[in-house]
Symmetry: C2
């Protein structure tokens, strides 16, 4: 038994409350090294005749990646307290593992073991229930639809007349979204994620000028209010994009510092290294990346904090939005996000808080900050297998098992799964224009754990490379829309609504990565019903042995019927 | 190279801000397996000609335990942002490790690497500066000194006339502490930790009746105010014990529930499973352990929360106390402790918050909750080697390296190191009455990293087993006091004050566990000056080769002169 490979920590993805009653415990061992792992557990205070009272229970493998097996057990301690360890057994030895290390025998001292001291309800990670069942649609407002030419910016170009560039404008607006609500309704989506809509300088609006106003190019507050109402009438949630890491260059407070330097009453709103401010050759103030046009906000400053918290509250309170997507969320302090969560959830307890973080996000997903992050590790793995054919099905299953074991199950269920966005090439382009691959990718995403998002236009076969290529005007000419993709997506979404197990009910398990050379397969099960999803990665047809006893089970094909 | 043994996570004890400028990065490898580890790092946004700009720097081993080597590097990223990975090299191969796994070559995509997105000052773990230099003295008030017979409880026994029992009283009080302040001053201690002093039923006072009053057996608020003032005049900090996990049975709010059941307006102050309440055979409400006399408080209830927060604020605001020790802190919700920290630090930013947690406490030590926990893993290891002779010096060094690598360096510096308490046998008893061992243990504790605490009476050689044995009346008859222990401790405390490096200045490193068979040795160094502490664990004298070039360095013996 390779002891160096064995890992557990008594918190985060290895030990967490999944509900107010149920703890999940995981442990990692070297792959194919340990045939049996048991949880040894008891109430920390339950002693009898000087002996700690404990029991043991078999754990099972919930997944494997390149190097490791991950073991899992769910347990509901009657007094919500748990001391526990592990009994690892192979042909040669049985080893006991506690916080104090390894032992050859069970130790009768609770101090040896790991501790989950108390399952306090308030500390349980709880994303809004509705998120699991939601299918998102991302809209980049400048490019979705021009519904009201009266608010066109200067130099607005004819819709789709030229390729998108970093600084051209086509007049997309909120009225355009309202006018096309039927398109979304027909597709079946149940949530819209809008990239920023507040007054800003650029076409992407990530350089905010006024956090309290709708950009006049997009409409006004009355229009936005109407848009939210129409969405809600159509059972569509609305999520806005908050850019709190930095303001735009033309944010009046920053302009004031540019003008008045040391004397500006806003000088502590930013991280300024010296006066006067300079933007060239490098800015002498903190910025997003090295962009002088996006000065980093000092979210530790009490005035800034209160200002941004009020922004957070305002759009929830006055416009009833359902979610906040937080731009560059990882570079803003944790203390700010804790307050942000408290403030906005006080107004709307089931608001969805989604952070833009591309890397391991456990520190933001402990229940006190975000409900989810944008699941780019999911994206990378899906693209590598199904779009780029750069990895094998076995590698895919191993990578995805790594991703799933990075977080608790209740975190995975609310994860924001995306294939592309305004920051990446479009999925069809990643697939080299192969619509079959693309359709397969959607089949995966819409049957997987997490809350899936479709980037506007993907559903009708739009293409485009990296920004600005991926920000083309939406194609409304039906003769140029790919109806096959649309109806494939429509069918998947409908199926996801019908079969609740597809939308995060039950437990997901991959079949072992060596089960089939060409296919990936996974089950979703609630104990009574089990769905099996099989995706063939090969161009040729293949046969697949269903891993059930079809004589005793009732089996039906919910896709082909 | 054993890949399964290699571990890093981009937060907590493996990646943390030690100051507002400096990040510490650690990684774990199999012991004696990897001869060289480098950090590969750069600003996430620093690209040149389509290539990410990074550099590499050698890491060094900061400690080893039974299975692993721990590598360390400190780094100050100019823009407070870091993407990083590791280059691990042995005779056969160089391997690159990032968040996405292992690679045989450096990868030119920042997404492959780990991320420390931004060093926000407010998120840096910061315990009060004064704590590192403090030497604590724990007082169990009922047993320290009876200074005012007028407030003796009924049936007060003559001081020390009989052994302590779970329910006898000897009249110890606050006036007694005031009268003996010179004893403490002569010893040299600079902080007192009082076990509870609020009105309660038992002699230990952990079953609070009134959180807003001094127990009349101990004195009154005027006396306590005077005590704090006298302590402060003598440069002694005062820490009180807060029992927020549970109240006492005679807490009026609980009595109200006992009396009025469902109709009590305090019924939601506790976790009650059904009415009427019963205490036998098992309580039908949550308790501390299974003790019906300590009903668990519902700290998620807004009224309870506000009540306890006001307790926290009140004694700081009105009496200027310097620290709160939090009883059974691990069973109270994290959300409560986050608010508690905010509230009490708003009144006194350098208040010390110390949680009673016996197990891995990383989740409470991330900067948002506690400044320290009671360092029982330290205690266990010290006792096993130096009191019980149950482990070898080499095992001790390995275990202590494990303990040190469980937490960030700035957390270790504020750790509350104790040898014994009202909850354990006394140290001299653990040493089998051997005062030489005991003196050596103090030599270790007072030269080690952390903030050390002496349990009342240990300094004059008191003995006693588990509670109630360890709660004897303080021995004030000088003829029965061990003056050798006292002067040894006095000298160590004075030395710790004189040589700031002893009190948490600089970096601590153990000499390798196989450096000497009988001795443990460690250095504390600030780059200019290095202190070497050598402790011989054998009864016989031994020789020890100093690991310095004594021809080129100036060396002096700060203990023997």
């Amino acid at each position: 038994m390779l002891r160096e490979a064995i890992y557990h920590r008594p918190k985060d993805n290895y030990a967490y409350a999944c509900t107010e009653e149920e703890l999940h415990i995981r442990i990692r061992t070297k792959k194919n090294d340990v045939p049996s792992v048991k949880l040894l557990f008891g109430d920390p205070y339950n002693w009898k005749d000087g002996e700690w009272v404990f029991e043991t229970k078999e754990m099972s493998i919930s997944g494997s990646d390149t190097l490791f097996d991950y073991w899992f057990i769910a347990i509901s301690p009657p007094h919500r307290r748990l001391r526990y360890g592990f009994v690892l057994q192979d042909g040669k030895e049985a080893v006991y593992l506690g916080e104090k290390g390894f032992s050859d025998e069970a130790i009768n001292d609770t101090a040896f073991y790991f501790c989950f001291p108390f399952l306090n309800s308030i500390d349980v990670f709880q994303a809004p229930e509705w998120v699991k069942d939601t299918v998102w649609y991302q809209i980049f407002p400048e490019r979705f639809a021009n519904g009201n030419p009266d608010n066109n910016p200067e130099n607005t170009l004819a819709w789709g007349s030229v390729p998108p560039s970093p600084d051209n404008f086509f007049g997309g607006d909120l009225e355009g979204v309202i006018q096309h609500i039927d398109h979304l309704k027909t597709l079946g989506i149940t949530g819209i994620y809008f990239t920023p809509i507040f007054t800003a300088h650029s076409n992407h609006k990530y350089d905010t000028i006024d956090y309290m106003e709708i950009d006049p190019q997009f409409g006004d507050k009355e229009t936005f209010k109407r848009l939210v109402e129409i969405c809600h009438q159509n059972d569509i949630k609305v999520m806005l994009d908050a850019v709190f890491n930095h303001s735009g260059y033309y944010f009046p407070h920053f302009q004031d510092v540019l003008e008045n330097g040391q004397d500006s009453k806003y000088k502590d709103w930013f991280h300024i290294h010296e006066f006067p401010l300079q933007t060239e050759p490098v800015p002498n103030y903190d910025t997003f990346a090295f962009t002088p046009f996006m000065p980093k906000l000092n979210t530790e400053n009490l005035e800034v904090k209160e200002y941004l918290l009020e922004v957070g509250r305002y759009w929830v309170r006055e416009f009833d939005i359902d979610g906040w997507r937080l731009d560059v969320a990882n570079e803003v302090d944790h203390a700010f996000w804790r307050e942000f969560r408290k403030e906005v959830k006080a107004i709307k307890p089931d608001l969805y808080i989604l952070g833009e973080i591309w890397h391991d996000s456990m520190p933001w997903l402990r229940g006190d900050q975000f409900d989810a992050v944008m699941n780019y590790p999911f994206t990378t793995n899906v693209l590598n297998l199904m779009a780029k054919k750069a990895i094998s099905p076995a590698e895919f299953v191993e990578n995805m098992s790594s991703v799933l074991h990075m977080y608790p199950k209740n975190v995975n269920e609310a994860a924001f799964n995306l294939l592309d966005s305004h920051d990446t090439p479009r999925i069809l382009t990643e697939c080299g224009g192969d619509t079959e691959r693309m359709k397969q990718i959607y089949s995966f995403m819409l049957t997987f754990i997490g809350t899936p998002c479709i980037y506007y236009g993907d559903e009708i076969g739009m293409t485009g490379g990296m920004d600005p290529g991926c920000r083309k005007c939406m194609e409304w000419d039906e003769s140029k829309q790919d109806k096959h993709i649309f109806s494939h997506l429509q069918r998947l979404i409908a199926l996801r609504k019908e079969e609740r197990l597809l939308a995060n009910g039950g437990n997901l398990s991959f079949l072992p990565s060596d089960y089939h050379e060409k296919c990936i397969a996974y089950t979703k099960s609630n104990g009574k019903q089990t769905l099996l999803i099989i995706l063939n990665m090969d161009d040729a047809a293949t046969s697949f042995k269903v891993p059930f006893d079809i004589d005793t089970e009732t089996i039906s094909d919910i896709w082909s019927g």
